[in-house]
């Protein structure tokens, strides 16, 4: 898949933002006034900024509102509802904290659940795609949610929770890489089933339909950069989990906290780039490419 910056940015930051909102909603930490304001600004910048970024990859962003209509069947539509629900509830919740110094717990808990639901629906957009075997597994939602929670805990300053969640997220990430590498092979989809010609012999793509490129190749076939994927995986895991965990093990300071967060974000961005760049859409088989 083409690792579009807008989508990498969107999933990374909305995940972090909603992760932070999750913790805020549950009252970890309970903050009010300017402190609350600061937390909520960060959370909303990330969540809303991510959502805004996602509209950059739309062909017709001015019609984005139509995406709310198909919640019965479409995960993207459900994501839109969850996101709006979470943002509205958490907005009200934040209003209470910032301006009234009151914690409307119900809004907070519901908002927190919807925040996680948003991350879950986002992950389901990818998980549901049988066309991309690397994503089409139960661990994909787990990966999105564990990362969101770990990042949220980091941002929320929940050091102990963060330590545990970072390790879990790291292990889930590691597992999805290992399993993901086998996914296309295990999916049963290959050039033989794609073309139906496998019973004659070994199938090899010859001339592509057009000598030039096309939307499908640009969107779904991303070969460049994969050769560095092992290196990038180490970097991603290091920055995302190992470095923050080591930093958090040190005596806490705000500088260390910020460094841990920055390292984690850089790690997640790298992992997210790999999430797309390494994903093989089965349509690539028609072009003899993965």
């Amino acid at each position: 898949m083409h690792p579009a910056p807008s989508v990498i940015f969107f999933t990374t930051f909305s995940g972090l933002g909603f992760g932070l909102l999750f913790f805020l909603g549950l009252g970890f930490p309970v903050v009010t006034g300017w402190t609350a304001f600061a937390f909520f600004v960060i959370a909303y910048l990330m969540a809303v900024g991510g959502l805004m970024a996602s509209t950059f990859h739309l062909g017709r962003p001015e019609r984005a509102i139509k995406a709310f209509t198909q919640w019965r069947s479409s995960w993207l539509s459900r994501e839109a509802w969850c996101a709006v629900g979470a943002l509205v509830l958490m907005g009200l919740y934040g209003l209470g904290l910032v301006f009234f110094g009151t914690r409307w717990t119900a809004f907070g808990i519901l908002g927190a659940l919807l925040s996680m639901a948003t991350v879950f629906t986002t992950s389901m957009i990818y998980t549901q795609l049988k066309t991309i075997p690397r994503w089409n597994m139960k661990f994909t939602p787990l990966k999105f949610m564990s990362l969101s929670l770990a990042g949220g805990a980091l941002l929320a300053g929940q050091t102990d929770a963060a330590l545990v969640l970072l390790v879990i997220a790291g292990l889930v990430q590691l597992y999805t890489w290992v399993e993901g590498d086998k996914a296309l092979g295990a999916s049963g989809t290959n050039m033989a089933t794609a073309t139906g010609l496998g019973n004659i012999g070994q199938v090899r793509a010859f001339e592509p339909p057009h000598t030039g490129t096309n939307y499908l190749l640009k969107e779904f076939v991303h070969v460049i950069g994969r050769k560095h994927s092992q290196k990038l995986r180490i970097i991603a895991l290091g920055l995302m989990t190992v470095v923050p965990v080591l930093l958090l093990a040190l005596p806490f300071s705000h500088l260390i906290g910020v460094l841990a967060i920055l390292s984690h974000i850089a790690g997640v961005l790298t992992a997210r780039w790999l999430f797309f760049a390494e994903a093989e859409h089965v349509v690539g088989l028609y072009y003899g490419k993965r």
Partner: protein, 942 residues
């Protein structure tokens, strides 16, 4: 469910205008759907095939459907151009038509007055040759031809000399009845829609298709059996099958005896001037032994049963029929499958299997049609015997220096099986069958200020027909019809520039060309030709002094011309697809068609032929002016309607006579074009049942053809397994007769002009020992020569052309897809990207032709893939063979017809470092039309 409501019956168009496609040479009927655009102008909205049309019956290929992108191509020339910079720079100024025609007349009139041969007028991929040759004839130059010499004259000439018709436009398999279809040769381009339709039809019926082609693409990809033959050995393979079939007696003896010259006696008179000629009576009729009487009898005497076996004794000599010579020749073990297998790259077993399958289908699956018919000897037949084996061939077998004899061998195979003009076999399309003797001979009689003494091109029947001056030198600039290539029926366009440059046989003053991209893909030795076009003599004048060029598009040749006369696109012009030319007939019908301006040009351009009407009148050419000196034909449309070649015979056969109700013959009908338009742009006249097979010998067909004006009298004839004119040239080479070849050509003429088909290798001449790989090109089905690249849709299909390399050569050279390789021939080298292909002869590499473009041409941006990664094989091919060490330079062409031997190209291949661009690179030329727009959202009714 509330689904959106959509309009299921939108308006398709405001009007449908039916004309003829010109996106390639196939000439299908098209429906051009016109819609009123936002500006109120009626524009082309959609193009589809015309269901009623005899050629395509509604279907249309990619090129045809992309016509809309051709008529709006940014490469279209807009106004006459006069060169202001150096040749090749692309520096022009736009001028008015008056000035352009004045310049042309000022250059041409002195030539006509003083020495008409100093004009060379060659018209490329012209579909109006009967008109352009008429113009050239009236001008008086002997130097006229179109592109047949570098295209496929071997195929056309071999067919016509052998059986009075050939493949391509001349004939087609009997798709409705054939059960085994065998297709030879690479470059599956000509007659493309009819062939595809035919293959589809017979495959639906479950008939077998055998493809013989080093490359398994296109038709060969769908063939049931693929024979990946070694290029240039088709003739040997065919002769081996002939060997098998004759040896097994699996030949149609009745057919051979009745309809061919197999029983005709050959004079056996060693050491005399008539040795090897056919025995004739005092009326010139070939003689046979009548099996009934045992007497010497003219072949066409009613009731005669020509004897294939009997010999004739006279004056102590035994004169034997042609068939005896064939038996002696082809039963020889040199043609046994085991003897040819290695050279052909086909296992001996497979050769036998295919020969056996041909025999099985031809004779075991024979059938009869219930059509009674009468042959030319007056014998009545109750039924028509069918032999459901058919053959067809593409350029591949003919573009070799042994191509003429190879095509002859294929026709011989067809005839031995009795599969020509019989149900299930191969059938001619009117005006064929037409024997070589019914065609004109070449004419080169030049008179200053007057027309030539007859048509330029034709068929030679002996040394007396050659186009030689009194001193024995060539009369034509291309040396057609000389001892170097005595049967060069289509001329040799590919030799014009190099001969004119060398002043051999003479210098010319004006080179006038039409749609022939000679400075790029339509020439061998591209770099060399560019140099010849731009080279100057000691006085600083161009060696080829003046070049006039007409083209609709900004091709590479534009930059190398001095005066550009911009042509229209095919939807903006009149044309006729005439029975006098290369018609569009079907085996069951005569047909012709027109083009007409379905849109008006939005540029200051004129149809080439209309412009010639004007220029001809300006120069007072007979045929183009009235008695009072006024212009005779206002434009080409006017010519099409009003010109008569013979009384009652004009360019169009349909809707003749005052009322437009006569077919073939009839007086001029002023409303003829309107009636064509009303009829869908074409005219078709069906051949009656009972007349539509056995045409060369079927009196019902002969009478029908006379009635339609195809002949003036019935012209039945025998198929020439033995081509006597070739023997005449051999006799001259042996020293007989007054017209003698130069000594250095004697051996070659004796060796190659065998009156019975032979095969000879062309490998040594092309240094195959050092260059062991054959390099070929094919034209993609979706492109026509260089035209496709200016088409926004088609160029997405083929924007660059990899070099396809067989798996074995990939491995041997350590190559992988996307690597670059250097390809070297005795003449030059190219460095290009490669792609592996498994379904390919293991010693053959190939690419798509004419995809590579010069930077600056065709209104493409300079970094277009056509110009950066695309390439031509032409750089590797020379118009001359590599030196043999005898001090002479021999043409890289067939010694019989002069056909350019493109496919004899031998090369070496080796891995090279990756390049930024394909090599050789050429400097950009300045585009006279700029470049096209970035993005297209083409829709008339937005």
């Amino acid at each position: 469910m509330n689904q959106p409501v959509i309009d299921l019956s939108p308006k398709v168009s405001d009007e449908v205008r039916k004309t003829t496609c010109y996106m390639c040479a196939c000439r299908c009927g098209i429906n051009v759907h016109m819609k009123d655009g936002p500006d109120g102008n009626r524009q082309v909205a959609y193009i589809e095939g015309n269901r009623d049309h005899p050629v395509n019956q509604g279907v249309l290929c990619a090129k045809g459907s992309a016509g809309i992108m051709q008529v709006n191509a940014p490469s279209r020339l807009r106004k006459p151009l006069k060169r202001v910079g150096e040749r090749g720079s692309g520096e022009f100024e736009e001028i008015e038509w008056d000035e352009a025609l004045q310049i042309a007349a000022d250059w041409l009139e002195p030539v006509r007055r003083d020495n008409p041969e100093k004009l060379a007028f060659f018209t490329g991929r012209d579909q109006s040759q009967s008109f352009t040759s008429f113009w050239a004839q009236n001008f008086g130059t002997p130097n006229y031809a179109a592109h047949g010499g570098f295209c496929s004259v071997n195929m056309a000439a071999a067919g016509i000399y052998t059986m009075g018709g050939a493949f391509w436009e001349f004939g087609q398999p009997d798709w409705d009845h054939t059960k085994l279809f065998m297709l030879f040769g690479v470059a599956e381009d000509h007659d493309s829609n009819p062939i595809k339709m035919g293959i589809g039809k017979i495959k639906a019926r479950g008939a077998r298709v055998i493809g013989v082609n080093p490359i398994r693409t296109g038709y060969n990809a769908v063939a049931d059996d693929w024979v990946g033959i070694t290029p240039g050995t088709d003739g040997l393979f065919i002769l081996s099958m002939i060997h098998c079939l004759m040896k097994a007696g699996k030949i149609d003896l009745h057919y051979l005896a009745q309809y061919t010259n197999a029983p005709v006696l050959v004079i056996n008179n060693p050491g005399q001037a008539d040795h090897g000629l056919l025995m004739r009576d005092e009326n010139g009729k070939e003689l046979v032994i009548d099996r009934a009487t045992g007497e010497l009898t003219p072949f066409d005497k009613p009731g005669v049963k020509p004897d294939l076996a009997a010999t004739y004794e006279k004056d102590g000599q035994t004169h034997r029929p042609v068939f005896h010579q064939m038996a002696e020749m082809y039963l020889d073990d040199q043609y046994a499958p085991e003897a040819v297998a290695d050279r052909c790259g086909i296992p001996a077993k497979r050769i036998r299997a295919i020969a056996a399958e041909l025999a099985r289908v031809a004779f075991e699956e024979s059938f009869e049609l219930d059509h009674a018919w009468t042959d030319f000897r007056g014998e009545k037949h109750n039924k028509m015997v069918g032999r459901p084996v058919s053959f067809h061939s593409m350029r591949g077998i003919s573009a070799h220096a042994n191509g003429f004899q190879t095509c002859r061998a294929l026709h011989t195979l067809q005839i031995l099986l009795g599969t020509v003009e019989v149900p299930g076999g191969f059938r001619f399309k009117p005006p064929y069958p037409k024997p070589a003797t019914a065609h004109p001979k070449p004419h080169v009689g030049v008179t200053k200020g007057a027309p030539l003494n007859g048509p330029h091109l034709g068929f030679t029947h002996g040394p007396e027909d050659l186009a030689l001056k009194d001193d024995g030198t060539a009369a034509r600039i291309d040396k057609a019809f000389t001892w170097e290539n005595p049967m060069s029926s289509h001329g040799l366009m590919h030799m014009v520039i190099s001969n004119a440059y060398a002043g051999d046989p003479y210098k010319i003053d004006v080179l006038f060309m039409y749609m022939a991209n000679m400075s790029w893909n339509s020439t061998m030795n591209t770099r060399g030709v560019i140099d010849m076009l731009t080279d100057k003599d000691e006085n600083g004048e161009y060696v080829i002094p003046k070049i006039i060029y007409s083209d609709a598009y900004s091709s590479e040749m534009v930059a190398y011309s001095d005066l550009i006369l911009p042509d229209t696109t095919y939807l903006e012009r009149h044309d006729c697809i005439s029975l006098l030319d290369r018609p569009i007939c079907e085996a069951d019908a005569a047909a012709d068609a027109i083009r007409w301006p379905v849109i008006e040009p939005d540029r200051d351009v004129k149809g080439f032929q209309s412009m010639l009407c004007e220029l001809g009148a300006k120069m007072n050419l007979p045929g183009f002016v009235n008695e009072d000196g006024s212009q005779k034909y206002a434009d080409y449309g006017d010519y099409i309607v009003n010109h008569e070649r013979r009384p009652g015979i004009g360019p169009l056969a349909g809707f003749r006579g005052e009322n437009g109700d006569q077919a073939g013959r009839g007086s001029v009908n002023p409303k003829q074009l309107d009636q064509y338009i009303e009829n869908g742009g074409f005219f078709v006249e069906h051949i009656p049942d009972g007349a539509n097979y056995y045409k060369p010998w079927n009196m019902a067909y002969q009478d029908w053809a006379v009635q339609l004006g195809l002949y003036d009298a019935p012209t039945p004839y025998l198929f020439s397994l033995y081509v006597e004119p070739m023997r005449k040239f051999q006799l001259a080479a042996e020293g007989y007769g007054p017209i003698q070849p130069p000594d250095h050509l004697r051996d070659r003429i004796m060796d190659t002009l065998s009156p019975l088909p032979i095969w000879y290798s062309t490998e040594e001449d092309n240094h195959a020992a050092d260059y062991p790989v054959t390099a070929l090109t094919q034209r993609p089905m979706a492109m026509y020569h260089s035209w496709g690249s200016q088409n926004a849709w088609l160029r997405q299909l083929h924007g660059h052309n990899p070099l396809y390399v067989p798996t074995k050569l990939m491995r041997e050279n350590g190559l992988q897809d996307g690597d670059w390789a250097k390809v070297t021939s005795p003449h030059g080298e190219i460095t290009v990207p490669v792609l592996e292909m498994a379904a390919l002869n293991e010693n053959t590499i190939w690419t798509w032709n004419a995809i590579g473009k010069r930077k600056g041409a065709w209104a493409l941006e300079e970094d277009a893939p056509e110009a950066t990664r695309g390439f031509l094989l032409n750089h590797l091919i020379h118009e001359l063979l590599p030196p043999k060490g005898d001090g002479l330079r021999w043409a890289n062409s067939d010694p019989i017809t002069g056909q350019a031997a493109w496919f004899d190209l031998k090369v070496r291949i080796e891995k090279a470092a990756a390049h930024a661009e394909s090599q050789p690179g050429f400097a950009p030329i300045k585009s006279p039309v700029g470049t096209g727009p970035k993005d297209l959202t083409w829709k008339v009714s937005k």
